[in-house]
């Protein structure tokens, strides 16, 4: 049942989770902008979405099987540095801030889509 409900809520339910996780990783990059030998990380958004959507449509063959919940284990990858520092740090704060803001806006876009879907569903359930 929960899988069916997830399908009704649309793909945004998956992307919200991934964007939340990406926000955390980018926040970690910005926080560690002055840490020696820190390597900047990021998630491959497309691969993460593919793995999340693929997992949620997995068929349960036993009543005890858990359904996919849109979370993904695609581990973050290291960013290719543009201007590595002498201390081994590969964070470009301005680029990371740009990505963080972009990710935050995309998160809110996904929220808007999910919200309107939920409103439509409630409308359909009520039938008024």
């Amino acid at each position: 049942m929960s899988t069916k409900l997830n399908e009704l809520l649309g793909p945004q339910i998956h992307t919200l989770g991934i964007r939340g996780r990406r926000a955390k990783i980018l926040a970690g990059n910005i926080a560690n902008a002055d840490t020696p030998r820190y390597l900047a990380r990021d998630v491959d958004f497309e691969a993460a979405v593919r793995s999340a959507v693929g997992r949620s449509t997995m068929s349960g063959t036993d009543a005890r099987h858990m359904s996919g919940n849109g979370l993904t284990n695609a581990s973050p990858a290291y960013r290719i540095p543009t201007q590595p520092a002498v201390d081994g740090n590969t964070v470009d704060v301005h680029a990371e801030k740009g990505r963080f803001t972009e990710n935050a806006i995309a998160y809110q876009i996904d929220l808007n889509f999910a919200s309107s879907r939920i409103r439509k569903l409630i409308h359909a359930f009520r039938g008024d």
Binding site: G28, A31, D34, T35
Partner: protein
């Protein structure tokens, strides 16, 4: 929920950067504290940052910044011949701290910029969370 973790991550960065600002303030304040004994002379300090990882998974998402400690700079002290100085030793020398004010100013600006960046991250995350709370309204 990853968005909650951002408060810890950016919060730890704010702590680390303000500690860095503190050491800079103390370095600049003591830039002219001369003594007659090199053992007692103030030496420039700086914090050592390191990354905290969630659990033991090094390849995983970073968890924030920790200050491992505050170290004293190795650069030699400057010796000055000032026999009239009340702190001068029997040979007439005083020792100046190894603080480089230009370096400290650059450090201060860098620390305050990093602090600002983390405050912005906190604000944006707060907005994201508050919007999430009103999902479906």
């Amino acid at each position: 929920m990853p968005l909650f973790d951002i408060f810890d991550i950016s919060g730890s960065a704010l702590t680390a950067q303000s500690l860095r600002l503190n050491t800079t303030a103390s370095n600049l304040a003591n830039a002219d504290s001369v003594t007659g004994d090199p053992e007692d002379t103030y030496r420039a300090r700086e914090p050592v940052f390191s990354t905290v990882f969630d659990g033991a998974r090094r390849g995983e998402a970073p968890g924030g910044v920790a200050v491992l400690g505050v170290v004293e700079r190795e650069r030699p002290l400057t010796m000055e011949y000032r026999p009239e100085h009340p702190m001068a030793n029997e040979d007439g020398y005083v020792y100046r701290p190894n603080v480089d004010p230009v370096e400290e100013m650059a450090n201060m600006i860098s620390a305050s910029r990093s602090f600002e960046a983390n405050v912005e991250v906190l604000n944006t995350s707060k907005q994201m969370m508050l919007r999430t709370l009103s999902l479906g309204e």
